[in-house]
């Protein structure tokens, strides 16, 4: 069984997501300036760019952890206009469709690894404890952490915690996964285990949007590379093409800084 078969439980359809004209400002300070991005089902989109470009904010706007001031989000027949009132049914549907993995893992420290993965399944999908635990164990096995089921997150390494966090998100059968710098808080070697799980997910056809500084991953795994700078998308397209021959001077400057160090 592949990771995504476990992940979609044969129920979750492959979905894409369309974001149009997303803008966000904090007071006078603009963070996102009219950003649009269309993600095709089953593709991997890597978001790169200098810090402060708005990558993470943009990603967090997708599942409305940040509320954009204007724009539209379309996913699975739901159209959400975050500038206006969002009804709780649309919000719940959006968050059910979209899973998220954070830079700082954000596992619940008072629950075992197994409970971290089972608890949301029981609460959000209404699965019984037995069903949820069985699914959790499958996922833990797939991310290589079967023996950590009863450990609390504090007893696990960063890489293990992040893999548990990925399992926790997958357990809810998301159609789309967001990754917010999933390896930035990890030692380079430990980050590899997390990247391996992500590569496998991508190979299984999960729709993924990944904010990352891992250029190798962005080049090898992503179908679309999106470069953000100064609150905008300045360039997007085939990752190899952009990395070898960027059109924009700003992209070139950024790539030189990260690739030629």
């Amino acid at each position: 069984m592949t990771l995504s078969e476990i992940a979609d439980g044969k129920l979750a359809p492959r979905l894409g997501i369309k974001l149009d004209n997303i803008s966000k400002r904090y007071g006078e300070h603009t963070v996102l300036d009219d950003v649009s991005l269309h993600v095709e089902p089953g593709t991997v989109t890597a978001l790169i760019g200098p810090s402060g470009a708005g990558k993470s904010t943009f990603l967090r706007c997708i599942n409305l952890l940040e509320r954009p001031d204007s724009g539209t989000i379309q996913v699975d027949q739901h159209t959400i206009e975050p500038g206006k009132d969002v009804n709780s049914r649309d919000l719940a549907a959006l968050r059910r469709t979209v899973g998220m993995v954070f830079q700082s893992f954000n596992l619940f420290p008072h629950m075992s690894a197994l409970k971290n993965i089972s608890f949301p399944q029981q609460k959000v999908l209404g699965r019984s404890k037995e069903e949820a635990d069985e699914r959790s164990r499958q996922l833990l096995e797939r991310v290589g952490l079967k023996d950590k089921a009863d450990q609390h997150p504090g007893k696990c390494s960063g890489g293990q915690q992040q893999r548990i966090a990925i399992a926790r998100a997958l357990a809810l059968d998301p159609a789309i996964m967001l990754f917010d710098e999933p390896t930035s808080a990890l030692d380079p070697e430990v980050g590899l285990e997390v990247l391996a799980v992500m590569r496998e997910l991508a190979a299984d056809g999960m729709t993924m949007i990944v904010v990352t500084h891992e250029m190798q991953f962005a080049r090898d795994v992503s179908d679309t590379l999106v470069v953000m700078a100064d609150c905008k998308i300045i360039e997007q397209g085939d990752p190899r093409a952009i990395m070898s021959d960027p059109k924009e001077a700003r992209t070139r400057r950024f790539l030189r800084a990260v690739l030629e160090r």
Binding site: N106, P109, H110, K123, G154
Partner: protein
Amino acid sequence: MEALSAVLQGLPMTIMLTLSAFSIGILGAVPLAVGLSSSNILVRLASRLFVDLVRGVPIIVWLFLLKFGIQIGTFKFNPVGAAIVGLGVVSIAYLAEIYRGGLQSVPRGQGEAAHALGLTGGTTFYGVMVPQAFRIVSPSIATYLTGLLKDSSIASTIIVTEMVFQSQAFARQHPTVEGILPYIIVGILYIALSLPVAYLSRRLDSRMRKAVSV
């Protein structure tokens, strides 16, 4: 030994007062703590005003106000009622402030992760925030409980027959050297009562720390 049995007569009342007021505080402080961290500024200000008002006035003043200052129709507080309500309301205010501190010290990412997973506000609060906040504040709550145990003696001023009241009554009837004895006894009793609380809280704390240690 006469003194001891006199003081012991007040023991059930002391325990009853403390536990009643503590229960009122533990439960009543939950909505108030939510109010204190509400994003609605009016709710937050009202909660803040209540906490500061209650904490700004000495307990003895609240007890006198409740006992002698309140008359609604034919209703007046009896001494025990006034003491329970007074100590209870003060507990609500103090514990709400303790809870608020605990809730705010739970990392922001915890709430974000819960929202991203699609957990409802209620599940996020009771399943994710409260258990973590409780671990953080349980030593403070135990400290408050031992403080409350001693503060319950203030009820003696409005003629509630708890331990200190009984000590005073005994001392008044035996104005000799013996008069000091009930106070020594009552002091020892207070220590004896607070030790188990402190011990239990330390054990609970270290057990929970072990469970979630980083």
